[in-house]
């Protein structure tokens, strides 16, 4: 619509210069009558020029509107397309993931469809706008003179035929490139996931060679592509330049003959200049259409496996109750490889009973359990729970009514809490309160989501399904989770993580208050019990703490930002200033130099591979030569080339790390101790109080940059007492338990970030977290595969605790050990995909 509006505007824009030259500049018979007004020559010229200016504004305004419109349309379509692709990934059947990898899928969803989205916006606007433009402009030229018109279009047939031919080859090359990039992405992704393997097997060279080869392939293709692209460009440009040649020749001739006015020729040339744009765009539009349709197909064919699940299975929110026995009716399944088959199995697990599925790996045990969980579908036969065929049910039923924890668990990047409650987050339940301003923003978000057929679920809502877990609120849910953590014996681990985590006291005042109380009673106990007093050195403003580093002693404060390490502290502006003012910069450099000298002397003859250097020196092997240079310069006392600022802060950093009781290098004299204590008061006055980059050690204040444990102890375990750390930990644990702080600390541990895919947890911890996640769901049917299958006392108690927790529910347990299976109500023994025994 808007596009059509622009056509007359453009026509007038072309016509006006002609009017200006022919009528206003060269014309006579003034004044002219326009809309009933009379104009002399000059005012007439001004009027025409102003109209011209006005039309330019209107025409560009329309263009702007069109561009924004098509940009928005493109982005919306892109969002929709990306979401659609992602949803398709979720709809893949599990065995399909053995064939595709994330490294390939990710670039397809992210970068490869980018062009497609951009194209969709263009697809409607460009042919209409630029095509129309072309016709208007050509029409104008033809109306001035048909001969000139022919000259203008003379090169089109050639461009229209030759260039697409060349283009075809380029498209084929880009398709090859896309596939190659996909492989590169996949290889890089794989190298990242398996980086430990690479180092452990010294396979870096192999991977480097592999990637290098692929990159060369990429280079070759790209080189080919741009060779051809520039050839096309060259041809295009040449053709476009050729046409003006005809204009000047034919047009000039016509003007001389008097068959054409100069104004008309000027206007034609101006029109032709404009013409180049639309024509070029139309050509590139044609190229793009071909290119994008190839890309689109390359992408989409990967997301359309024949056996994809229905969208319904993913999006439905029905809530079928799965009561009744679990029944396998002549079920067969093949995972596509030996040892992943199940052949003609019929079995019944009565509701509310516990059953063991017994069989070694490759016996079909895991497949049977996955079939029972509805994760994979039988190729023949039926898996039923009650009267419901699992294959006909949706995720919303399967995921809520069945809890499945397999041998290979996945822990999500995020906090422990996120992972524990993951199984309860099916749909948003309680929308968050929003202020007027936020409501507006949210409305826009929902509107966009609707426009793009994305889901409108609110991530900020309360997702935890309290009812499913059998609790009423967050606090009860935490309690329930803790109970289960105790059942699987993960509570101690989480407690330790909680001790190591930091707490924002503004979030939980009361908790910080309690920690301060424990700190006081601990200090009291240490003061009164001679046995303990020898184990700890508490922070005391008036005395030197030999078990702490020189930096901690000097500042008697810690950086407010826990991310700032001791190596970075000498670089801080306020620290530099303070050190210069107190003269400590010189002293620290001398200490640093002395340390460096000693290190060099001690470790000069030690070979790098002995491992001695790594564990004891402040300096590692790579830094030795660097410090050798620094010490040499410092010793020579030369002014030039003296120590650089960086060298100085390295020495200072070294001195900061000195812990006098551990590193008995004899640099800490009594005088120096006194000076440090003096200086720390100055630091408190000048830096800590005036800014907020440091937090001072204060027995009455909770220190957020320190861990909960450090806040409890408020001091250092003495490094010169054997096992002081362990012994004082025991004392802390008893006090914490006496004061009822254990649970809050465990809850603080819920906030521990588990790292990428839980990499900061051990394999056992990951399994147990997944187990608690499954148990928290409170599902009617719980399926565990390869969990706690050891014969140790620990695993035995865990198994009986699990049976206890799941006593009212249907419980399927996969194990390879027949002895363990005897603990369950009934057993189904599998061998090579067939059932050999029941009992």
């Amino acid at each position: 619509m808007v596009t059509v509006l622009t056509y007359p505007v453009v026509y007038f824009l072309l016509e006006l210069p002609k009017l200006i030259v022919n009528d206003a500049v060269q014309g006579d018979n003034f004044p002219r009558n326009v809309f009933g007004f009379d104009f002399d020559q000059i005012p007439y010229l001004v009027l025409l020029c102003c109209t011209f200016l006005g039309l330019v504004v209107v025409s560009n305004g329309l263009k702007f509107y069109l561009n924004v419109y098509k940009g928005r349309l493109g982005e919306r379509m892109l969002r929709r397309l990306r979401f659609e692709l992602f949803q398709r990934v979720l709809r893949f059947r599990l065995p399909h993931f053995r064939k595709v990898s994330s490294g390939e899928i990710i670039p397809m969803i992210t970068s490869e469809v980018e062009d497609v989205g951009g194209y969709i916006g263009e697809a409607f606007a460009l042919p209409a706008y630029q095509g129309g433009m072309l016709i208007v402009q050509l029409g104008f030229i033809f109306m001035q003179d048909p001969l000139l018109g022919l000259a203008a279009v003379s090169s089109y047939p050639i461009q229209g035929y030759v260039i697409p031919m060349l283009q075809k080859k380029v498209i084929l090359l880009s398709r090859k490139r896309v596939k190659n990039v996909r492989v590169i992405a996949d290889k890089v992704g794989e190298s990242i996931t398996g980086v430990a393997e690479i180092h452990a097997n010294d396979a870096a060279a192999w991977h480097s060679a592999d990637i290098s080869d692929r990159l060369y392939e990429n280079f070759k293709i790209r080189y080919e592509i741009f060779n051809r692209k520039f050839l096309i460009k060259f041809l295009n440009n040449f053709m476009n330049q050729l046409t003006p040649f005809f204009f000047y020749l034919i047009g000039g001739y016509l003007v001389i003959q008097g068959n054409l006015s100069i104004g008309a020729l000027l206007a034609v040339i101006a029109a032709y200049k404009d013409l180049a744009g639309p024509w070029k765009l139309l050509l590139s539009f044609y190229q793009m259409t071909a290119d994008v349709s190839v890309k689109y197909q390359t992408v989409v064919e990967n997301f359309d496996p024949p056996d994809i699940h229905d969208t319904e299975r993913l999006t439905a929110d029905d809530d079928v109750k799965l009561d009744g026995d679990v029944k396998f009716e002549r079920v067969s399944f093949s995972g596509g490889a030996a040892g992943q088959e199940v052949m003609d199995i019929s079995l019944t697990v009565p509701a509310g009973s516990s059953s063991a599925i017994v069989g070694p790996d490759g016996s079909g045990r895991s497949e049977v359990l996955q079939l029972a969980a509805g994760l994979v579908s039988a190729s023949s036969g039926k898996v039923l729970i009650g009267d419901h065929d699992l294959d006909k049910l949706t995720d919303s039923t399967l995921g809520r009514e069945i809890a499945y924890v397999g041998g290979a668990v996945h822990v999500w990047t995020g906090t422990i809490r996120d992972n524990l409650y993951y199984g309860l987050r099916h749909r948003p339940l309680v929308p968050p309160e929003r202020s007027a301003e936020e409501k507006k923003k949210y409305k826009r978000r929902v509107n966009e989501a609707n426009q793009t057929k994305n889901p409108v679920y609110d991530l900020a809502a309360e997702w935890n399904d309290f009812a499913a877990a059998g609790v009423n609120n967050d606090a009860e849910l935490d309690e329930k989770a803790l109970e289960l953590l105790e059942t699987v014996r993960l509570d101690n681990d989480i407690y330790r993580l909680g001790l190591q985590s930091r707490l924002d006291p503004s979030m939980n005042d009361a908790f910080a208050e309690k920690i301060l109380n424990v700190r006081k009673s601990l200090a009291g106990r240490i003061a009164n019990e001679p046995k303990l007093s020898g184990l700890v050195e508490l922070w005391n403003r008036d005395s030197f703490n030999a078990s702490a580093s020189l930096a901690e002693n000097l500042f008697f404060a810690v950086p407010s930002d826990p991310e700032i390490t001791m190596d970075q502290v000498p670089e801080l502006e306020e620290v530099k200033k303070f050190l210069a003012e107190t003269g400590f910069d010189q002293k620290l450099q001398q200490i640093g130099q002395k340390i460096a000298e000693t290190m060099l002397e001690l470790f000069a003859n030690v070979s790098g591979d002995s491992g001695l250097l790594g564990s004891y020196s402040f300096i590692n092997q790579d830094e030795l030569p660097e410090f050798e240079r620094i010490v040499r310069i410092a010793k020579s006392g030369q002014q030039r080339p003296g120590l650089t600022d960086a060298d100085r802060s390295r020495l200072t950093g070294l001195a900061f790390k000195l812990v006098p009781a551990r590193h008995r290098l004899g640099v800490m004299t009594d005088d120096l101790r006194d000076e440090v204590i003096e200086a720390r008061k100055k630091f408190l006055e000048s830096v800590v109080k005036s800014g907020d980059s440091f937090v001072a050690f204060d027995p009455d204040v909770y220190l957020p940059p320190l861990t909960i444990e450090d806040n409890l102890l408020f001091g250092r375990a003495r490094v010169d007492r054997r096992d002081a750390r362990r012994r004082i930990d025991n004392v802390i644990r008893t006090i914490v338990e006496e004061t009822g702080l254990r649970h809050p600390i465990i809850y603080a541990g819920f906030g521990y970030h588990v790292g990428v895919s839980g990499s900061r947890l051990s394999a056992g911890q990951r399994r147990r977290i997944a187990l608690v996640r499954g148990l928290l769901k409170n599902a009617k049917i719980t399926i565990l595969d390869d969990i706690a299958t050891g014969l140790t006392e620990d695993d035995k108690t865990l198994r009986s605790a699990l049976r206890e927790v799941l006593s009212e529910k249907t419980f399927l347990y996969g194990t390879s050990n027949a002895e363990i299976a005897a603990e369950f109500d009934q057993r189904f023994v599998l061998d090579q995909g067939r059932m050999t025994d029941t009992g």
Binding site: E601, L612, Y616, A661, R664, L665, R721
Partner: protein, 152 residues
């Protein structure tokens, strides 16, 4: 006490008799300096040994388990090294060590001690020499004891 004084003390330990000063300094540096108060246990018989003790000041009672309970068999004092057997070969501690008075001890961990021996063969030779002397003495004592037993 600083590294220097520790090196002085180490030099008096027979095991490190022939070792040059820079290596003793290294040994002192990679060791941990710990204090023990009277009555504190350094190690217990039967547990796995993870470090050797070099006594810088004070003394410790050596106790062994007997059917009648722990019994003192010897006392070790300044400038001696104890517990090195358990870190050289994987045998449990052969005796219990209890501080007889306040002690200053350098403990060197098993891993580091072995690394040091690997790095400097002359230290290994010294250790071997001392152990051989000890073996010789034990053998002689044993022979004496036998002679004494058969002689009366």
């Amino acid at each position: 006490m600083t590294l220097e004084t520790e090196v002085e003390a180490l030099r008096k330990v027979p095991l490190f008799h022939g070792i040059d000063e820079t290596k003793l300094r290294l040994l002192a540096f990679i060791s941990e300096r710990t204090e023990y108060t009277s009555g504190e246990r350094l190690c217990s018989q039967g547990e796995e040994g993870d470090c050797a003790f070099i006594i810088l000041a004070g003394s410790a009672d050596v106790l062994v388990d007997t059917p009648e309970g722990e019994k003192q068999v010897a006392q070790v004092s300044e400038n001696s090294i104890v517990g090195e057997i358990a870190i050289l070969c994987d045998v449990p501690r052969t005796a219990t060590l209890v501080a007889a008075n306040d002690m200053d001890v350098l403990t060197v961990s098993k891993d580091d001690f072995l690394k040091l021996l690997k790095e400097f063969p002359d230290i290994s030779l010294e250790v071997m020499r001392t152990l051989a002397l000890r073996l010789e003495r034990t053998t002689r004592d044993l022979a004496d004891a036998r002679r004494g037993a058969s002689g009366d």
